[in-house]
Symmetry: C2
Subunit: 202 residues, 2 copies
């Protein structure tokens, strides 16, 4: 337990406090970790599983901003913790996940006393910023058919997903996904079924 790389090299005293105050929580698929507007209780360190972070615009459309997996840190929560503002996005568990919840007090002490912890936090922030910058570029300038194909190629074949969910992944409309997929099927690149996409060849 508490197997997270950011907690590896802590001074003895903090190690002890960590073991005492960090609660490990387990979340089933579908569980909503937090929603827009909510406030943050502590910093979640992902131990296992997969969580997607998405936001919903004023228009009602949603887009997946990034994913968290084992050994990730919920960067959004840090800002939430430090500034006291609510979350702007929501996090949904995709695969059964475990997370270690670091309470505010311990977080402050870790930041104060462990250079390794600070480095981990900063790196995490840096990666998130990079992810989001890339996403902005993708959404603003890249063609949807390219992005869709890329998304499909990045997983293995029987992909279980609805067109609506795929639309949220890419930040577009369901109809656009349906049409592009149909086009790919006509070209013989995929086979479609309800809730399932099979990649052909490649």
């Amino acid at each position: 337990m508490l197997d997270h790389s950011i907690l590896e090299t802590l001074p003895e005293e903090l190690q002890k406090e960590a073991l005492e105050t960090i609660r490990v929580m387990r979340f089933p698929p579908g569980r909503v970790l937090f929603q827009a507007g909510e406030h943050c209780q502590g910093l979640p360190l992902m131990l296992s599983g997969a969580v997607k972070v998405q936001m919903t615009g004023v228009s009602g459309n949603s887009i997946v901003l990034y994913r968290m997996g084992a050994d990730d840190i919920c960067t959004l929560s840090i800002g939430c913790l430090m500034t006291g503002y609510g979350y702007r996005a929501e996090a949904v568990v995709e695969e059964e996940s475990e997370a270690a919840m670091v309470p505010r007090g311990l977080f402050d002490r870790l930041m104060d006393q462990s250079a390794a912890f600070r480095l981990g936090i900063m790196e995490s922030y840096g990666r998130r910023l990079d992810d989001l910058m890339l996403l902005v570029e993708e959404v603003a300038f890249r063609r949807m058919d390219e992005r869709l194909e890329e998304w499909l190629q990045a997983r293995r074949s029987p992909i279980r997903i609805t067109h609506q969910e795929l639309a949220v992944e890419l930040g577009t409309a369901r109809e656009v996904v349906s049409r592009l997929l149909k086009e790919l099927e006509r070209k013989g690149r995929v086979r479609l079924a309800r809730g399932k996409i099979e990649l052909v060849g490649s």
Copy 2:
């Protein structure tokens, strides 16, 4: 000099080191602070002026990600400093600016010894993430005519900007901006001239 809120409440020793090792630099409009791929020498703390941070996609199109003004921190540089990766975006000075360059060593010591400094850094990161998340939503879902009008309304009347620059602000093509502006002119909401937009009424 060194008038930046994040340096306000430092312990005496650090205050001294700060005065000794921080160089204040002055940049004229148009000066490129950093470019994609470059590496980072230190953390710039903005003392005055305005700098825009933009990125250029593989397609060659650019989009403004955010701006920095007085008392801001160049958040991108932190990630760059900590991870050693190059910048992914570029920063261009818009108005004559002054920045205090905090070298790596001092940055580490400040993070180590000043809770106020850490808080400032974290807040800055949080704000940047928020900015980018909002931008993703804008670019993905909002209509260009609305975004353009909003952009125009946010400044005062004789706006000196070319259609190309405005396109980069909004992350779209120059032609789109030209057409939307022409439409606004037909509706009597703006008056157009080369490199200038005048808002009518409102």
